[in-house]
Symmetry: C2
Subunit: 214 residues, 2 copies
């Protein structure tokens, strides 16, 4: 009863094409009951007062729970894993393995996502068109370096953390999906390409992708 | 015995002036027994083969444990909190409160640290001197926006998460300490300035800062 009440009113603010896809997949992986609120970032929904009242950062995702609002993908993913332990989405019982899970997700948010953001979001860090163009031109090189490091040093296989699918797989799948649009051939990363195909074939992910296509 | 063995050989690769200060403070907060390896990033220690063998990312921090190497500040901090639960460095028993802790640290690594890095590390994301200068010129504005958001929306007080000191306080203290060097007056953030003074006065932090000054 406490659990059921705790999950009443769960609501994910999501934008297609953004990193909030990882949280959406994890909610489906967990079998969670939630409401999906799709924002149109092209129309600036994330900057409107009604969303800033939910998440003052003005970014997706935000997950509304009955305790309050959670933001930041690594935190939301870990919360989902801890709230639905039966879904086995993270190595919760082993602090070292959990730390490796967190380290992977932390690298994705602080380095890989940031590398990608310099393509279209240069105005966060500079002001001139010349600087934006300079940043954009370097994005592919940085992304190749990031995913080469992931494939060679971090990815255990067949899933990110080894034998068991986890929240890291949903997050990796999300960011890996940006490569083609950024002019990087994802097939050069043989193990990660194979991984992305296997993630896409999972029923919770197929459900999410069908919703996007609808 | 298992615990003692588990902590044998704990070694933190640290650089003064880097975000690894947060992990160093947390180890002191926990009362951990560890070896400190100080790297000279000006001399490029973090890019030398012997360190790349430990951490292929070529960045500080790295924490060597008998299970393997941990990287990424939010993951290291959570691991320290989980490994020394008696130090009460994170709300481990409450997934929602732990997620807020993780969200705070995730914001620091993916947004605040990244904002700072554009001052001297522009070559990560661009190639021209003009772009570096453009990025550098925007750093103070971005940092003010970040710490204004932290002070007004995220910081509970008297500590980051409220009544209890946590790993978030060590991490906030570390990044807040960069403001003055980046040309931002930290005193404009009254609650965070007061916080930084209280963190600096804690015995574990005084021990760390004395070591830096030595």
């Amino acid at each position: 009863m406490a659990t059921a009440r705790g999950l009443m009113g769960l609501k994910l603010f999501h934008a297609w094409g953004s990193c909030s896809l990882a949280s959406l997949i994890a909610l489906e992986d967990a079998g969670a009951d939630y409401e999906l609120v799709v924002m149109d970032t092209q129309a600036g929904d994330q900057r409107k007062p009604e969303y800033l009242a939910v998440n003052p950062k003005g970014r997706a995702p935000a997950l509304v729970t009955d305790r309050g609002v959670l933001t930041e993908t690594p935190a939301i993913l870990a919360w989902i894993a801890q709230t639905w332990p039966g879904a086995n989405l993270a190595p919760l019982a082993d602090p070292y393995a959990f730390a490796q899970c967190q380290a992977f997700n932390s690298y994705l948010c602080s380095t890989v996502h940031v590398a990608h953001a310099h393509k279209h979001r240069g105005s966060r860090w500079a002001t001139t068109a010349a600087a934006f163009a300079d940043m954009t031109a370097k994005v592919a090189e940085n992304e190749v370096a990031c995913f080469r490091l992931i494939e060679d040093e971090m990815f255990q296989g067949p899933w990110v953390l080894g034998e068991t699918y986890s929240i890291c797989d949903a997050y990796l799948f999300t960011l890996f999906g940006w490569l083609e649009g950024d002019g990087v051939d994802p097939r050069q990363f043989h193990r990660l390409w194979d991984h992305s195909q296997r993630v896409a074939a999972r029923p919770p992910v197929r459900k999410v992708l069908a919703r996007q296509a609808a």
